[in-house]
Symmetry: C2
Subunit: 338 residues, 2 copies
DNA sequence: CCGTTCCGTCGAAGCGCTTCGGCTGGACGG
DNA sequence: CCGTCCAGCCGAAGCGCTTCGACGGAACGG
């Protein structure tokens, strides 16, 4: 293998000079740097990651703990991962994968100095990992919003605001009864933080706007979606607008409405809370509030990098604000329309 | 940080003894080993991964290159990843993630000695990565079956056999016209190996069984599935049985058949080629040929480990055989039924 | 009873890199 | 003209681990 010494010899300098030339941590003359760079290119030199980690106490690697829970939408998850890996590479870092179910995964990665920082996906309201992560030497970023972050940085979508935005938008159009097609019951039972915040925002805004709010927790199946739509339309005050936060069920909801002969948006308005890609791949355009998963992943990486730069810094929580993209699936309710 | 020297001191032995006690590479007395293990536990010792990699030229890390292509089903992909990560951990290895689009991702991981071996997902028929991977010092396992594996190990599902099995099963029931709801056109245009093998197997068995075969490449949308079903049912010789290899479209196909008033399996038989989990989450039970993604991932890891043990060994290709699970969505065609 | 063998342990030499202190020579000010 | 300073480079000391050769002592055979 090509070592730094080979490069040094070829460039006619000391190994330390090569190191400094490449890292830029000390001033090096233009001439020398060029010689070093040429030698690197000619020999195809690549620093040994382990050696570097040993000497510098930095691994240039981020640990990523991904969930293996049911009800977690894989599309959204992949978006997170994509955002994280891509942004990490831009900081010259790599990503090491651990799964949720591994016993001491966190401790193994950090104790073994395999990673500089950790990103935990899908953090629940009372997640046991938070306490453990807070005890580690390495900075940890949580994707999600636990009840008690214990001094850790968090980043997430502002589901509360998203739900309020959706309801306000619909209420402003004149709707007086709004239905929420929510996540599967299992997700809520786990006290997943985002689901609870979504519901909270929904209920709060419903009250503020003085409209009726109906909630259906919906399994991501045809039958589940059908049942939810049926339940809502059979209510004493059937909603004229639907907020859907359930990627997997969304197509079925659209389908079910069509089967019910309910036109969108003439009879029923529809707002989805999902990644743009999902909304755009529906059989008809659906107005949506973008769930910026890729961005959240990227932000998580940025926060990790920040903490690595400057050890100080109080725990920060960043909630990305909702943006509604109108694609024509919302309109005033039938009886208000001209 | 707790080092091997701390452990040695506490156990009253030399550092090298600790190393041997933990690795088992030399015989160590029972008494000493216990003392070492106790010291390790008491101090919470975890070997520094970088130091270990440097000294032993082994990283205990596998590189995994995941695709970011369109038309790749994320559910199946996650299954692969799950299988890989889980099995890797059983071999005491970790998994480092790279994305397809990174320029010299392979070379970076291997040149920097970050990984012991590499697993490439979603390898196409003429994949440019194969040539590059073949040139690396580290063993590489391909998931997929390129036209020329160039001496690399491959593992994949036997799509050819799966398609033949499906057709044979249906032909044996008496069906004389069989439709294939295939992957999106984009997948085939990329010359994705699995899609081509599936089609090949389908056409071959159709011929052998002396039945009519119709193929519809199908986008994973409601509209796409609807169009495919319509096209098939509008054919001069409408198929009385459908083979579906398109996870995303499967629910829509079921839906479309119901809308057409075609009973399953009374009017139309249905066989899906998909992971068991997908088949079982449909609105009605669907007979399926299991696409054992998790297993394939696990096998890929095993092959990598094999190659790490014994450097020799000719290039091996393992194709996992298809197994049909009857869930009652197939039956003889209408005119044959009693 | 002594030589051989083997088991269990130790010491030391790296693995390839970073980093700190030190050295040099030229620029600069007085 | 000499002292000072600094940019630019070198040398060496580790980082924490594995591994190889060596060594002491117990066990064993002749």
């Amino acid at each position: 293998m090509v070592t730094i010494e080979d490069v040094a010899r070829r460039a006619g300098v000391a190994p330390s000079t090569v190191s400094y030339a490449l890292s830029g941590k000390r001033s090096i003359s233009e001439r020398t740097r060029e010689r070093v760079e040429r030698a690197v290119a000619e020999l195809g030199y690549r620093p040994h990651a382990g050696a570097r980690a040993l000497a510098s106490a930095r691994t240039s690697t981020l640990g990523l703990m991904i969930p293996l829970r049911q009800g977690v939408d894989v599309n959204v998850m992949m978006q997170f991962v994509l955002g994280i890996v891509t942004r990490a590479r831009e900081f010259d870092h790599d990503v090491l994968l651990v799964t949720q179910d591994e016993d001491a995964g966190l401790e193994r990665l950090t104790g073994g100095r395999m990673v500089d920082a950790l990103i935990l996906m899908d953090v629940e309201a009372a997640d046991p990992r938070v306490g453990r992560a807070a005890r580690l030497a390495q900075p940890t970023i949580l994707i999600g919003l636990p009840d008690d972050p214990q001094g850790l940085h968090c980043v997430d979508f502002d589901f509360d605001a998203a739900a309020r935005l959706a309801v306000r938008h619909l209420a402003d159009l004149g709707h007086t009864s709004i239905g929420l097609v929510g996540p599967p019951p299992a997700v809520l039972e786990r006290h997943t933080s985002f689901a609870e915040r979504l519901l909270h925002g929904f209920r709060e805004q419903v009250e503020r706007s003085g409209v009726t709010g109906l909630v259906e927790l919906t399994p991501p199946t045809h039958a589940g979606a059908l049942a939810a739509v049926e339940a809502l339309r059979g209510a004493s005050e059937p909603p004229t607008a639907l907020v859907v936060h359930n990627e997997a069920a969304l197509p079925w909801v659209v389908d079910a409405l069509q089967m019910h002969g309910a036109g969108i948006p003439t009879d029923v308005s529809l707002v989805a809370i999902c990644p743009a890609a999902v909304a755009q791949s529906q059989s008809r355009p659906v107005s949506f509030i973008d769930l910026p998963a890729t961005t959240i992943g990227a932000v998580a990486v940025e926060m990790a990098m920040d903490r690595l730069e400057e050890q100080g810094g109080a725990a920060e929580t960043r909630l990305l604000g909702p943006v509604l993209v109108d694609q024509g699936s919302t309109a005033p309710p039938p009886h208000v329309s001209p």
